[in-house]
Amino acid sequence: MSSIGFVLVAIIISAASGLPVALSGGASRRGQAISALMLVAAGVVGLVGVLPVFASAATSSLALPWGLPSGAFAVGLDALSGIFLVPIFIIPALGAVYGLGYWHPADRPEDGRRLGLSYGLLVAGMALVAIARDGLLFLVAWELMALASWFAATAEAGKSEVRRAGWVYLVATHVGTLVLFAMFALWKATAGSFALERNLAIQPEAAGAIFVLALIGFGLKAGLVPLHVWLPGAHANAPSHVSAVMSGVMIKLGIYGILRMTSLMPTPDQWWGWTLFALGGVSALAGIAWATGQGDIKRVLAYSSVENMGIIAMGAGLALVGKSLGRPSLILLGMGGALFHVWNHSLFKSLLFLDAGLVIHETGTRRLERMGGLAKRLPLAAALFGLGAAALSALPPLNGFAGEWMLYLGFFRGVTAGPGRGLPVAALGAALLATVGALAVAAFVRLFGAVFLGAARSAPNDDHEAPNVSLATPDNGLAAHGKGKAGGSARLAMLAPMVALGLACIVLGFAPGLVLPAIGDAAGTWANLREGGRNLVGLADFSWSLPLGLALVGVVTLLLLYFSFAARGARKPGRGTWDCGFAAPTSRMQYGASSFGEFLGRNLSFVRVTRRKSRRPRGAFPAPGFYSSKTPDPVLDLSIRPLAAFAGRSIARMRILHQGQTQIYLIYVLLATVILLIAGVAPS
């Protein structure tokens, strides 16, 4: 069987993987286990099909008649598709295994059926998007992916919060699809057919219009600011393994769409690249700045996804500029960095979302202000979260650093004059990347500290320690039946995929050379360059990564040993002598997520809006005081929602036409007909 055949079989298995859950009524453990097994099998079969694409530059394609008046069932597999297919086949399979521990089917059979069916279809849709070579087929797959992800993300539709976030997502994704309809129509009009094949005869104006439409339509899925509005809500409210798949895999397909379309068109104008670069820069900076203010663990991760998509877009923008200037080094480093970051982000962001799911499972809340001290209860989860956060913050020697290193190399190379002038603006990219990296460290120190360090701010189902916090209604229904304590096998099912992802982060960090040829080939495929893999290996020297990594690990180990040795003699007081004058200190007096967010917020006020409400205790017998802060999304909460509310109020006036009398509606029809008739005759 050819490579593409394996991928198609994997797609069919994935699509069918929901059936065992649905047919067993959604409440059976066995159905869930068979479904997970099918997804793992699909992943293995798919990878068997995909991996050979990197070894040989050969592409594999297939076209079948499909009986519709237009388009064709044309699929193909090349290195660019392959880069995106690898996470598609790995992450959802791991997520399904994780789901065995995370999701108890017996508790909510209806939701379980919905989740099981849509999860498999989501995988199938994503894989089909990555291999579609026909505009119509692409749209069908895209819509399948969008709808399946909507059903999966709103699996717990019983909660109003979930429904609200789902509604925003549904609107956003359909606006995107609508723009893609326009884009493919324009493609058909200029290229002559729906076939997604390289066409160098397209006029520059038409190509520019197609690029802009692709940027909007695919940018909505990729979550580039200001098109990210649906992303935080949908990610925060989906079941955690669905968040992992959406954030780790699905939104990358937005980038894939942009890359695929740009690879099909002739040499781009320079503004294409700079536009994408600027969008990416804004997304990266704004995404991470907004992440620092969120009080919900999954919203922090979601905003950080916006940041990472921005980084990927910056790399792709650099590659586009390189393509229009004819500088292969910029193409390979920019695109290589972007594609490597696609893999890296899918690994560590999935790890973090799965870990967040475990935390939520244990504490019964998503709110950072109620967590704390979990490192003692969940040491392995804490270590894995730290690992993922370090990788995400691009700290060496992990994979995030390796990916961004290539982008730095690209930006520096862009500044120096190659063939043609140097590009001083590229220096801005390096500076921006460094700023974003530092902010990411800050955001994740805050997150890690609030969740895992210190003392618990409230215990699940036990609020004697925190009298002001009502825990009667946990934010996440999972705790209501999980009682916050996962059994041994459930814990194992959740931890095993996370360990696998963590190991992958370490391996790619220490030895990025392993995957560099594959990534270079994909970058070469995108730009139609030969020997992309070998050239990229020449451009990005990673021989230092293993020694540097080992040296860093050695230094950190020595420091840890020293401190634990030094701390052995010292006596630790249980409570301080003075307690700052408080007679009964509680764990809620610790520095919390808001405290750290406050410090960052002052420095980020140019991009982040924070709303604060507080009342200080005053006088001898003060009334209870409070403090709360919130970081609304500037695009969704401060622009779109007020506009939509205004539109809703204005449109309400139209109700005067709506009298409920059939005869009156018919008069409207008559009036419209007469007006049209008169308008039709008037010119003659």
Binding site: G660, T662, V669, L670, V681, S684
Partner: protein, 216 residues
Amino acid sequence: MLDVLNAVLVVVMILNLFALGTSRINSVIRIVAVEGALLGPVPLLLHGAGDISGASVLAAAVAVVLKGLVIPAIMRRSLRAADIKREVEPFVGFLPSVLLGAVGTGIALVFSARMGSGGGSTANLIIPAAIATILVGFIILTTRWKALSQVIGYLMLENGIFIFGMLLVEAIPFVVEMGVLLDLFVGIFVISIITNHINEAFSSMDTRKLASLKEE
């Protein structure tokens, strides 16, 4: 042939006005039935005598049977079942609505003279007759309260559209023609059932009562 066609169309226009001026629902049903039955074979007139196919004869026969017999029968049945007053109960009186219909017919004639013959039509009364019938259908729809009168209005509207369709008689395939007839039949069938339900729910067939279903 054309003279026959024009004669039929003039009769149809007179029947329209007659329908506006009649107070008994039974008579109105009969008028619309006659109108439908008259129009059914008209497409055959437009075909040349040589190329009348079996399919077009079948389509004409089905149209005549459906509009002339079946639909009126369904409507009379539902009239009996609903057991209502046999009066039309217009919102605008009979004489004013006849005058309105006459003015509409006049406007349609003037209008189509300005519009030109439209796609090389053979009979110059087709367009004015179509517009006039549609207008009269609308007058019935908007000025009568009873649900059954509404059905009659829709039928007349459909007759108008049918006349318009004669301009395209060469272009409309048999399948489409049969599809339209099936649509009409099902539509009337469903409305008649709904009429009975309205009658049961509100103990009247006055569509004004439906306004109470409007959401506030």
